[in-house]
Each structure stands twice: as structure tokens, then as C-alpha cells.
């Protein structure tokens, strides 16, 4: 199981700004280890963010997204105390969901 995400969501003037830092290797599948073998690709493919159960962002990642991916976005609405959940799935089927309260 992967480490938890760091999520910050802050509501201001009717707009909620969300910043997510995921913990993931994001192997491209093009790198070789010290003995010259290809390191198999291992990366997050899909991500979804939901505000009180309503989807506010869906993303698909390729291998070019950096290790420990960072993502920031904004959506209209959202108030202090509302729930914001982010979940991702990687190419090996691992998944993780974390939830925070908007502040």
C-alpha cells in the first residue's frame, strides 16, 4: 500500500484551490537498473477528485509525470468543512484514496 497523499484544499471567495502531493515512484519503464535490466513501468494512470461526492476533476497520467506527482487545480464552490476526496489507480492496480476537510 502506498503512502498517504498530502492534500490541501482551501476555500476563498467561492473558489476552492486544491493541492495534492502523491507518493509514487512513477517508473517510466525506460530506465535501467545497475545490472542493465529495464525497470518495469510503474506509474499512476488515473486520478479522480470529488467534492462531497461530486467529481471535480478526472485526470489521466502518463509516465512523464514526475516522481511523487504534484497536482493543483481550482473549482467553483466548496465551503469550509466540506469533504474533498482524491483517489488514484496505478498500472499495477494499486489504488489509494485520501480525504480531507476543506479549510
Amino acid at each position: 500500500m502506498a503512502d498517504p497523499m498530502k492534500i490541501r484544499a482551501s476555500a476563498k471567495d467561492g473558489i476552492t484551490e486544491v493541492k495534492v502531493l502523491m507518493s509514487h515512484e512513477m517508473e517510466t519503464g525506460q530506465r535501467k537498473d545497475s545490472s542493465g535490466n529495464l525497470v518495469p513501468a510503474h506509474f499512476i494512470t488515473e486520478l479522480s477528485a470529488e467534492h462531497n461526492g461530486k467529481q471535480v476533476l478526472a485526470a489521466q497520467f502518463g509516465t512523464a509525470v514526475s516522481k511523487n506527482p504534484y497536482l493543483a487545480f481550482k473549482f467553483k464552490g466548496g465551503a469550509k468543512g466540506d469533504k474533498l476526496a482524491v483517489s488514484w489507480v496505478d498500472n499495477k492496480g494499486d489504488k489509494r484514496t485520501d480525504e480531507v476537510a476543506i479549510n
Binding site: E46, A58, A59, G62, S66, Y70, T97
Partner: protein, 155 residues
């Protein structure tokens, strides 16, 4: 003995299925999520990628801004943001021309989500970064060159 084994298998199988369903129900968002666009992420050129995204013939536009450094010292972590003041942006895709697979990430924006996303990407070498935006069913794009002094795909 055999009967017991069968029953145990049955019970186990039933439980497994139930567990799977519960897990799926818990984790999968209620909204239908688009399948990971393999053909777009596997494409090797900008043209192929645009085609796989259904964005062939995207027009250049000044209504999109790419916020990124002109020079990236470390190609492994290049902060890139895409912002557009246009209303009704439905999707944003981020392409890096000289990477082995240009498509880095794509974002679907439901109504109410602003056309403003930021992430960090890997760049193998100095390259144009292209933002493709879908707005009102049409595709527009813009590009910006980012110089990389140290590639991000070395071993």
C-alpha cells in the same frame, strides 16, 4: 472430504466476489470514469497523440497560457501549469514534443472546475511543451519551449 472442500471453495469464492464488489463500490467513483487512453499515451509523435485524442487540426490560440520556467535545471521535475481564461473548458492535455511518448497528462474538467491545472513533469531534453485545450467541442493549442540543462530520463 471432497464435499467439504467444495463447500469451503464455494463459501470462499462467494466471499471473494462480495469483497471485490464492496471494494469496487467503495473506491470507484459513482460517475463513469473514462478508460485510460492507452493509444494516446503510447503515441510516439505529436500528430499521433493529437489523433488519438481526437484533436487533429487543433488551432493555435493565444487564449491559453503555459506557466513554466524558460530554463529547467532538472529535467526530472519541471513545474508546468496550464491556464485559460476561456469559459467552458472541458479538457486539457499536456504534451512534451521530444519525450519518447509526448502525452504527459490529460485532465477532464467537469462544469465548475476552472481551466487552471499545475503539475510537474519529466523532460528528456529541451523541447516544446504543448497544451491542448478542448472548449465548446473544439480543440485549441499553444506551445512553449522549455530548455532543459539536465535530462530527466537518465538511469
Amino acid at each position: 472430504m471432497n464435499m467439504q472442500r467444495r463447500e469451503a471453495l464455494k463459501a470462499g469464492g462467494g466471499l471473494g466476489l462480495f469483497g471485490l464488489l464492496a471494494a469496487a463500490g467503495l473506491i470507484t467513483p459513482s460517475q463513469a470514469r473514462a478508460e485510460w487512453n492507452k493509444s494516446a499515451f503510447d503515441a510516439k509523435t505529436i500528430e499521433e497523440t493529437l489523433k488519438a485524442l481526437g484533436a487533429t487540426g487543433a488551432q493555435n490560440s493565444t487564449d491559453i497560457q503555459i506557466t513554466a520556467p524558460d530554463i529547467a535545471e532538472n529535467g526530472a521535475v519541471v513545474p508546468v501549469g496550464v491556464v485559460s481564461a476561456l469559459a467552458g473548458v472541458e479538457a486539457i492535455a499536456l504534451l512534451i514534443e521530444k519525450n519518447p511518448n509526448p502525452l504527459a497528462a490529460s485532465f477532464m474538467l467537469p462544469a465548475g472546475t476552472e481551466a487552471s491545472v499545475q503539475t510537474r513533469v519529466k523532460m528528456g531534453q529541451t523541447s516544446d511543451v504543448i497544451a491542448v485545450v478542448k472548449v465548446g467541442g473544439k480543440f485549441i493549442m499553444t506551445k512553449k519551449e522549455i530548455k532543459v540543462t539536465l535530462g530527466g530520463c537518465g538511469g
